[in-house]
Symmetry: C2
């Protein structure tokens, strides 16, 4: 698969005909036809319905078109980042939703004392997406939980260590947690992060067989679903900061209670290293007794080997 073929496909979709697309990609219509045929052969599916003129994209063709757009965007974004194209003065920051997001408004307000002209572009997404975007240069840094194996261009520094809780809807009888896990509908945290594995591993160790009702990939959404009475689950402490979370029944998960860490991930070589170091300091302060100070060396990098 060649990005030139993908550009041709996108050109056909915008121009309407192979002939006009040929002008756009500086090829002959014959070459355009051959490129599409090569793509169809590689994917083993027809991308165009050819009984009409001009040919019309099939449903599979439309899917491949979306993939093409995504891939070309990745290519262009990476090229822009390598060229050093950036909005001056804006910190591109990412965060997962249900961790330290409640801390960020205070942190950003405090940061303005040090950097009065600092403007923050905050994108909330999933750990895996955020890490990928930091690695690819689309974000300067992101707040994510501990991962097994960050990309080698990145380093992760924890600023929060928090305990895990087994949570159930208000009024649930929790005298026997093992029976609870075996009988109540279980909302499984499904995500490519160590926390999900940590929870699954401990549940396997307990020898229970949870009755899965759903797999959800964000902690905040899981808390919302438990609150709505859907079932029980396991979540970290910081996800339970809302006043009505006090009404959820909760039990320490693991004995001793299991903890996990939240930190900042950034590129090792970054023009915003100083700002990010300060952000880390501010966030650790805001975590009070759960706060973790940054160490002098990039110890997380050492540990992740």
């Amino acid at each position: 698969m060649d990005t030139r073929q993908l550009k041709t496909l996108v050109a056909i979709s915008t121009q309407g005909t192979f002939a006009r697309a040929a002008d756009i990609v500086a090829l002959t219509p014959s070459a355009v036809s051959q490129q599409i045929q090569a793509l169809e052969q590689e994917l083993n599916t027809e991308l165009f319905e050819r009984t009409s003129r001009p040919p019309k994209l099939t449903p599979h063709g439309l899917q491949v078109l979306e993939m093409a757009k995504d891939m070309l965007r990745l290519e262009e974004d990476t090229k822009a980042s390598l060229r050093g194209d950036r909005i001056a003065g804006t910190l591109m920051l990412g965060s997962v939703r249900s961790s330290a997001l409640n801390l960020l408004p205070k942190a950003i307000l405090r940061m303005r004392n040090l950097y009065p002209d600092l403007k923050t572009n905050l994108r909330v997404s999933l750990s895996s997406t955020l890490i990928s975007d930091v690695a690819a240069g689309r974000l300067d840094a992101a707040i994510v939980a501990e991962h097994l194996g960050f990309p080698p261009a990145l380093r992760w520094s924890p600023f929060l260590r928090e305990p895990l809780w087994l949570i159930a809807p208000e009024g649930t009888d929790i005298t026997d947690p093992i029976r609870l896990l075996n009988s109540r509908p279980y909302i499984r945290f499904r995500s490519a992060v160590p926390l999900a594995n940590l929870i699954d591993t401990e549940i396997s160790r307990l020898g229970v067989v949870p009755q899965d009702i759903a797999e959800i990939d964000t902690i905040g959404s899981i808390v919302t679903c438990v609150r709505q009475g859907m079932g029980i689950s396991v979540v970290p402490h910081v996800a339970l900061q809302e006043p009505e979370d006090d009404r959820l029944t909760r039990l320490p998960f693991g004995s001793p209670q299991i903890t996990r860490q939240i930190g900042i991930v950034e590129r090792i070589v970054s023009p915003r290293g100083e700002i990010i170091a300060h952000m880390h300091e501010v966030l650790a302060e805001l975590c009070r007794e759960h706060g973790v100070r940054r160490e002098v060396s990039t110890s997380a990098t050492v540990m992740s080997r």
Copy 2:
């Protein structure tokens, strides 16, 4: 850029040397070296530090490696979807965070009456990512707000129409909304969705110059930041369902109050069309007075032209 080059780059990163990578990609070491040089020429940057053996990826090289992995994953996911590889019996559903997510637990529980073996894999992400994933076949459907121009392979059916509110921290004096917008720190909703444009357009129409303090791309995060006292913003009704949101000061946004719609987006050709139609029905019922019934024809498709 050719996916064969990207596979080579990934192989070098996992195997450690050009020579061993050559075995993996079934080429000679010379061809591997030439592929990497071609990539470096296209990107106009060095990907490897060559003063050591084996050569070591530069920071730019590591960024390109991440892009390569992302692109190859897109390619593989699309190929798998085209082949029809799917987990049997699981509904791959996406949702934005702060819209109808509160409705989903009830909806999923009700759906189990009709489909007792239905299992739902719920992924919470951003509108643009969700739409892209539905188009590319990674999700069966997603709950997103109205967009200008869905990909042509998709159709969107609204089930909720809700009003917008100007919100401020508890205790804010809101007798003069124009002065408020001109003076208080403003948290701008920045996202590639019509709602963001709708809000920006109305604010321009009002002739105010907001004092931006942050740009955030998720509504739930904006509400969280307003609650924490960071500033004011404009959000839709459903984002204000939590009990402590009652403490926020709010004002109808626009005169008459502006509304926006939430719906389900799905592929026009989908094996789960029936299940998704039922999900739409259940969600519209759960919205009560704000619910929107699905029309007989794919009217949204017509309207989006």
